[in-house]
């Protein structure tokens, strides 16, 4: 498989390491003072463990370890392995903690 890195061009997937669903980016924001209750644990459990498993397009995180060291968001069809559009640096789409 080949991944279109926005910095390095189309590169072999061996240069990248895979992390998983790009929803990991949506880390819940929780002030330090908030007491941890079951609802919060459930929310975080969902964030860390629960994933959709679509048999189609999937937004996912790839790290270009053997290249520019950027974390990228790649839109990949997990049935065909086709990658739709160039990968986008995750940092461009991040949130303020």
């Amino acid at each position: 498989m080949r991944i279109p890195c926005p910095h390095c061009g189309v590169r072999d997937a061996q240069e990248f390491s895979y992390l998983g669903d790009a929803c990991l980016q949506q880390r819940p924001i929780l002030p330090a003072e908030t007491p941890i209750d079951d609802a919060i644990l459930d929310q975080w459990h969902a964030y860390v463990y629960l994933r959709d498993n679509p048999a189609s397009d999937h937004r996912e995180l790839w790290y270009h370890q053997g290249g520019c060291r950027q974390w990228l968001i790649v839109a990949r069809n997990v049935r065909t392995h086709e990658i739709n559009g160039p990968a986008v640096p995750a940092s461009r789409m991040g949130r303020v903690p």
Binding site: M1, R2, D12, A13, S17, L19, L24, Q25, R27, L30, P31, A32, I36, I40, L41, W44, H45, Y47, V48, Y49, L61, Y63, Q65, R69, Q70, W71, T80, H81, E82, I83, P89, A90, S91, R92, G94, R95, V96, P97
Partner: protein
């Protein structure tokens, strides 16, 4: 003794008669020519019996002239270069080649295991599954060795392969797979359009069936036409011809795996050349022009040597100038095979009969038979006679049954497009009823299929579809289509109508020759309920082994369909997976074997450790000093104890350069560290170091290390050696994905610095002689957990940290990597008066166990900070990775195994990591398991074995006696639970 070549024709063929080559088969010497394959050379010499079959050990000959060969598989070469299961039909002949037949004992002509043929009624489908079931105890000792000795094909060399292999990469616009008429046109069209083209073909001469047939293209003999096109392609600067290269796999995104046989056609690889090279070819567009494979016809004893595919017969006659038989019966269900009639006659053979099963032979066949005066029989061959060679066939027709003597049967059951590569990414081939063949389903993105591989069998169409595919591919890559004239081809008929088996056959009718699967086996599998094609394959082994059923699959499916009263389309086909033909593991491994299996990393001070006589050990990717043996020491144990004592009483140095080091800078660097560490770093003072604990988001500990503040916005993090890469990736993730608004930059400087630990009561005295004079390292000026940039060795930039893993007064000093060896030497010199002692990983480990410091054995990804007794380090005043989920009920359960120390009651009783804890009075069984021993060492300080472990309710059980049970190695030791710090629990020494 050299033999002549009785079956060699005087003229024609692509062989060099001026270049005789000597080769050996089963110890006998024969002569062939440059341009031969092993198979063609054997046939030229009249050798038709070349192997024994897999299961019944039946005599087998050469069926085909290509990579689909199921029978003629031999051991090639001798000694360490011996390679089993190679196809004689593709093995290029060279002077000095040695080959042996397989699967026979004591000899090919007389084979003891031929008894299996007599026993064959007992050896049907599923025989192994049913027979070797009981008694279970027989399996390992009796059945398996028996099966192993009886089954299998060739023998491995059993020695290290003396040759080398390599991997290589290539990029192109258009990859054309297969250089027959279609592929040549495709490459020509793409090449003339200006595309960068790779044309790969498994054969050593390009041209495919254009070399094997007497056809006319543009008023030229097809073989000459092919030669001209190849010459034109070779002259194009952007076209790369790759003969002897099999594209064996198609992968995502236009990636192709290919095997180039660089040196298989010479007696041994030339200097600096590999035997084979594995290519990864990246292509923007691919044209698959892999041709088609001819199907055998299924009748009684259709496996006898001398029964050959009609296309193969034509190849041997036209390309290799070999007459494979003098008295020939042609048995074919299609018009194309009748070319064989003319070719045989031209080669001096006599066509005894043309058997056409279609119930009305075409005018085309009638004419061809008439032209040579051959009898045309509308009927079927029901059985072959002869054992080691075919002698006659029984033919059944409306006129009744008759027997015709012959020494060659040329068979054709029609052609199956070589669709394998189209389905490597999951698309199933689709059944085309009109062609009676599977044609490509949806090919992978970027691939077009042309010519016979697409079911377009007529030469004229091969040429036109090839050209169109080449132009389209180039155009899709942005090149302007070249003007190209599609050449004419002589007229032909490709009419065919399927005959899946001869129903009135007598004797064993083989479907899969390589695996000895007969029509009876398929019927039996069906009766036993194995009706799905995937089940049929596994149960009968139809389509398995080295040829993967290239000639067998479709006939097998058709029979299954017939028995199930279903269409072939409904029956479906099994999936083709890479590789298309066998690929040696060595070729896939390339240079990565033995010592080069993976990179060996050495510390920048490696030469220093070597000079000190270190014994090295592989630790993860690193080669590290394990201990430094001295004369008179029995083993590692003596050396380690000495090194530990030296550190605890004097001073020792240890190379710790392999630790991960990450430099972090930026206005938000401190905030960032607060987010990635469980404890707080924003409060860390300038010039101070702090132990940090990093969690994963799921609440478990990920890594630990010390991080120092070298400037207001400048930190230096250390990680464990093993996790250096993982932590770097994690930090990048946290920054780029989670907290991209933070102003922080980071880079791994692991390889930039050489770092030594100097430990022991005398360490400051030694260090004072190494760091430059202007730096005050007194206890007051440079206290415990101080960190500073300074210079050493007379002006060399250095970083000094007062941190201790051993529990002694200790420092770590880092210098730029290129000064690593010099620093080691300088420290040894400076410490000479103090008896300075280099120590290795073993001593380091003993001392950290004595101090209860955790390493990979405890930080195993399943332990929380609480489990490790480090719960109080976790901040309650800030957000950080892992903060929330570490509070899950299961992770704060006090019954969780928690870090303790253990001491055996008998101090010399050896403890081993991996032992499990049970209560003193409890049986050693899984339900009484209370934890496990993570680390163990002999402590010279305590003169006793000690250990660290994880024990349920651990901290409440200090003083309790429990068992450490190690059933794997026979250990069962009573140990006392204690605090996990054995030496200097108050930490006085490291502050001294």
């Amino acid at each position: 003794m050299t033999r002549t070549q009785p079956n060699r024709l005087d003229t024609g063929g692509l062989i060099d008669r001026a270049q005789p080559l000597l080769f050996k088969f089963d110890g006998r010497t024969y002569q062939g020519h440059q341009g031969d394959t092993l198979a063609s050379a054997l046939l030229a010499n009249g050798v038709t019996l070349v192997g024994r079959s897999f299961k019944y050990h039946r005599p087998r000959g050469i069926l085909t002239a290509g990579p689909e060969e199921p029978n003629a598989i031999v051991e090639l070469r001798v000694g360490a270069r011996r390679e089993p299961n190679t196809r004689a039909t593709t093995a290029e002949l060279y002077d000095g080649l040695e080959a042996r037949s397989q699967n026979r004992w004591p000899s090919l002509a007389f084979d003891m295991m031929g008894i299996n043929n007599v026993l064959s009624p007992l050896l049907g489908a599923g025989f192994y599954y049913k027979t070797f079931m009981w008694p279970a105890s027989f399996w390992e000792k009796v059945y398996e060795p028996l099966i192993r000795s009886a089954a299998g094909l060739g023998r491995g060399a059993g020695m290290d392969d003396p040759d080398s292999y390599e991997k290589s990469y290539a990029h192109c616009d258009v990859l054309v797979i297969g250089a027959g008429a279609t592929g040549l046109m495709a490459a020509l069209a793409a090449g003339r359009s200006g595309a960068r083209v790779i044309l790969a073909d498994e054969d050593f001469i390009m041209g495919g069936r254009a070399l094997a047939e007497r056809r006319e293209i543009d008023q030229l003999a097809s073989v000459e036409w092919a030669g001209q096109i190849v010459a034109e392609l070779a002259a194009m600067p952007e076209v790369r011809l790759m003969p002897r290269t099999t594209v064996f796999g198609v992968y995502d995104g236009g990636v192709h795996g290919a095997l180039e046989r660089v040196s298989d056609h010479v007696i041994q690889p030339p200097a600096h050349q590999p035997r084979q090279r594995t290519w990864r070819i990246m292509a923007r567009r691919t044209v698959l022009s892999a041709g088609a494979i001819e199907r055998p016809l299924v009748f009684g004893d259709n496996d006898r040597p001398g029964i050959m595919m009609a296309g193969g017969v034509r190849t041997y006659i036209n390309r290799f100038a070999v007459s494979p038989g003098a008295h020939v019966v042609v048995f074919a269900n299609n018009d194309e095979a009748v070319r064989t009639i003319g070719d045989i006659t031209k080669a001096g053979g006599v066509v005894e009969a043309v058997v056409d099963p279609r119930g009305g032979a075409s005018e085309f066949v009638r004419q061809a038979a008439e032209n040579v005066g051959a009898r045309l029989i509308e009927g079927v061959v029901t059985r072959a006679h002869g054992t080691r060679a075919v002698q006659a066939v029984d033919i059944e027709s409306a006129a009744g049954r008759e027997r015709i003597d012959c020494d060659l049967v040329a068979l054709s059951g029609g052609w199956s497009p070589t669709v394998h590569l189209t389905s490597h990414l999951g698309a199933k081939p689709v059944w085309n009823e009109k062609l009676a063949a599977f044609t490509p389903g949806q090919p992978p993105t970027g691939m077009t299929v042309a010519g016979a591989a697409n079911g377009t069998f007529a030469l004229a169409e091969c040429l036109s579809t090839g050209a169109a595919a080449g132009l389209d591919a180039a155009s899709a890559c942005g090149f302007r289509r070249a003007q190209i004239e599609v050449p004419d081809a002589d007229p032909e008929s490709t009419a065919s109508s399927p005959l899946w088996r001869v129903k009135s056959a007598r004797g064993k009718s083989f479907i899969d020759l390589q695996n000895d699967v007969t029509t009876d086996d398929v019927q039996q599998a069906r009766q036993e309920g194995f009706t799905r094609v995937e089940h049929l394959k596994r149960y009968t082994t139809l389509g398995m082994a080295t040829d993967q059923g290239k000639t067998a699959n479709v006939n097998g499916l058709a029979l299954m369909a017939e028995m199930s009263a279903k269409s072939i389309a409904e029956t479906g086909t099994t999936v083709f997976r890479p590789p298309y033909t066998p690929v040696a593991i060595g070729a896939l491994a390339g240079a990565h074997r033995g010592r080069e299996f993976r990179a060996t990393r050495t510390s920048p001070a490696h030469a220093w450790a070597k000079a000190q006589g270190a014994s090295f050990i592989e630790a993860g990717v690193w080669l590290r000093a394990s201990y430094f043996p001295r004369e008179g020491e029995k083993d590692w144990f003596d050396a380690t104890c000495r090194e530990v004592r030296a550190v605890r009483t004097g001073v020792g140095i240890c190379d710790v350069s392999t630790l991960g080091k990450i430099d972090l800078q930026g206005a938000d660097a401190a905030r960032f560290l607060d987010l990635v560490y469980a404890n707080t770093f924003s409060t860390l003072g300038l010039g101070r170091a702090r132990y940090g604990l990093m969690l994963r988001e799921d609440g478990f500990v990920m890594d630990d290390g010390t991080t120092s503040r070298l400037g207001p916005d400048h930190f230096l993090m250390t990680t464990t050696t093993a996790n250096a890469g993982k932590v770097m990736q994690h930090l990048e993730f946290c920054h780029q994905v989670l907290f991209p608004n933070l102003d922080v930059q980071m880079i791994s400087v692991s390889d930039a610095w050489a770092q030594f630990s100097i430990a022991g009561p005398k360490s400051r005295d030694v260090l004072a002689r190494v760091v430059d004079r202007q730096h005050d390292i007194s206890n007051a000026a440079f206290p415990y957990m101080a960190a500073a940039r300074m210079t050493a060795l007379g002006g060399t930039p250095a970083r000094l940290f007062r941190i201790s893993f051993s529990g002694e007064l200790a420092y770590e000093i880092a210098v730029p990597a290129r000064f690593g060896v010099a620093l080691g030497a300088a420290l040894m010199e400076a410490g000479r008066d103090f008896g300075i002692t280099p120590y290795g990983l073993e001593a380091l480990n003993v001392m950290r166990i004595e101090k209860g410091h955790v390493t990979g054995a405890e930080l195993n990804g399943q332990t929380t900070a609480r489990d490790l007794g480090l719960g109080k380090m976790q901040s309650t005043k800030k957000d950080y990775i892992g903060r929330i989920l570490k509070e899950r009920a299961g992770l704060i359960d006090p019954a969780r195994p928690t870090l303790v120390g253990v001491k055996p009651l008998e101090r010399m009783a050896r403890l081993r990591a991996g032992a499990h804890f049970v209560r003193r009075d409890a049986p050693a069984s899984a339900e009484h398991d209370q934890g496990w021993l993570t680390s163990a060492a002999f402590s010279p300080a305590l003169d006793s074995w000690i250990g660290l472990g994880m024990l349920s309710h651990g901290p409440d059980r200090h003083g309790e006696i429990i068992r450490a049970v190690d059933p794997l190695r026979g250990g069962d030791t009573l140990v006392e639970v204690c605090a996990p710090v054995f030496v200097d629990p108050e930490g006085v020494r490291l502050r001294g």
